[in-house]
Amino acid sequence: MSIDMSTKELGVFKDSINKALFADKDIITFLCGDTTGKKQSEVIVIYKKHVKSHLFVEDTLQDSDSYIFYDVTLPNVDSQIKQYVIYMYLVCSRNVIDDISNYAGYIGNRADLLAQLVEHALILDEDVANKFGIGKLQLQSVDIYNAKDVCGRILTFTGYAYR
């Protein structure tokens, strides 16, 4: 009998996060602009420029835009259950962060708006929240990310899965 690897959820969770964000029309419009009339394959190309499955490194952004960087860790793995943590960096160029103040019924700068959109997509959507292991995905904390040219929010989600 084979034993499931502890790291197998890393990719599966990332895939689920990606799909959940892509399925949210408000996030797509926020990041990719108006995609009316575009084919899915065209939208995916734009989307993948804005959403990355790894963490942000300063001085690597070329455009004044908004981005989502995320990664998954497994800080505790015991014999039955493992804890996972999703770090999500919502990064905006300082050039554009204050150019809007409300979107889709939410209020705030670009990073604030993006944080609310992501929470809505991953936590408030029950179908999505239940795809992450045991129980629902939990939003653990919301921090500030502050750097020279960019700033934003760091969302930390936690959850548990069977080992």
Binding site: G11, D15, K19, F22
Partner: protein, 346 residues
Amino acid sequence: MAKDWYLISQENWDITGGDLSPADDFSSILNEGIGESVELWESNLKSHKTIVGVIQNSVGDTTLKTMSRVLLTPIGTCKAGMYIQYKDIFWLITGFVDNNTMYEKSILTMCTYKLTWIDRNNNIVERWANITSASQYNNGETGNKYYYVRSNQLLVWLPDDEDCLRLDSGFRFIIDKRTGLYDKEIPDGITDKTDFPLMTYMLTRADSVIYSFQSTGTTLFIFSQDEQRSYDGYHNGYWVCGTVDQSSEAVPERITIQSDSDEIYDGLDPVEFTAFFYDSNGSVIDGVPLWTIEGNNKDLLIVHESGVKISIAANDIRLIGSKFKLTVSSDNYPSTTVEFSVVSFM
């Protein structure tokens, strides 16, 4: 001096009692300078000979009259449907050729275009033709709400030899003087070129008896303009449309499959594949596709067929990395296969 009123010389003016017949008189006067040498061609343009005759009506007062002549020749020289080459122009003998016991008179109609076509035996046939408009005040287009098609019609006058009589509805022709310009643009060694814009026509009506003089005669056709097709153009020195089989009796030829992507993202929207059915003219026609999918775990795919489209989605991580073959087939068509794979959205 007008040739119509040319005075026959005294020694040949012998109709009322000399030894020479009137026909002999005419033959002899042709050699007195009144006659002109012209080439008499068989209707199939395969052989010709030089004859001497009198050309009348050379100086017409209207455009149409300048395109018509009268030829006087010794009796038994010409027949309707033959060609006269006069001043390097081909003229079709269109009227019934009869005589007055002294000479015979042929009505010549100027040929305006040399038609070329491929007959049912795949032989190239060429004929000079008199072509006039059969839709003079038509604006040349037939309108629909969304597109226009050309609707010019031509009246085409040809001999009634075997090749012409065998022309049937559906034969197509290039009738376009620009081919003379295009000839200069075709590089040496090029045998086929089909990217020049051309005026093409299809034979839609044939009248073989209106000017039939029993053993001789000419034939009238109506050609209707149609759209240029993929084969129409320059082939081995000739400007021709496709054969009847290639142009008017199109047959199913191939199916293609088109889609936005050959990658289906697991968990995202389906990818739609569309079958396009083409006939031998390259036109898209209706067809009923039969789709088959090959590959491991194909039953996990979410498949929906509608008309000529099939949409395929994946929503199972077991499918990620799988490759599939999608084949479309239909009666009378060779099948076509494309490959697609299911990938992670990561």
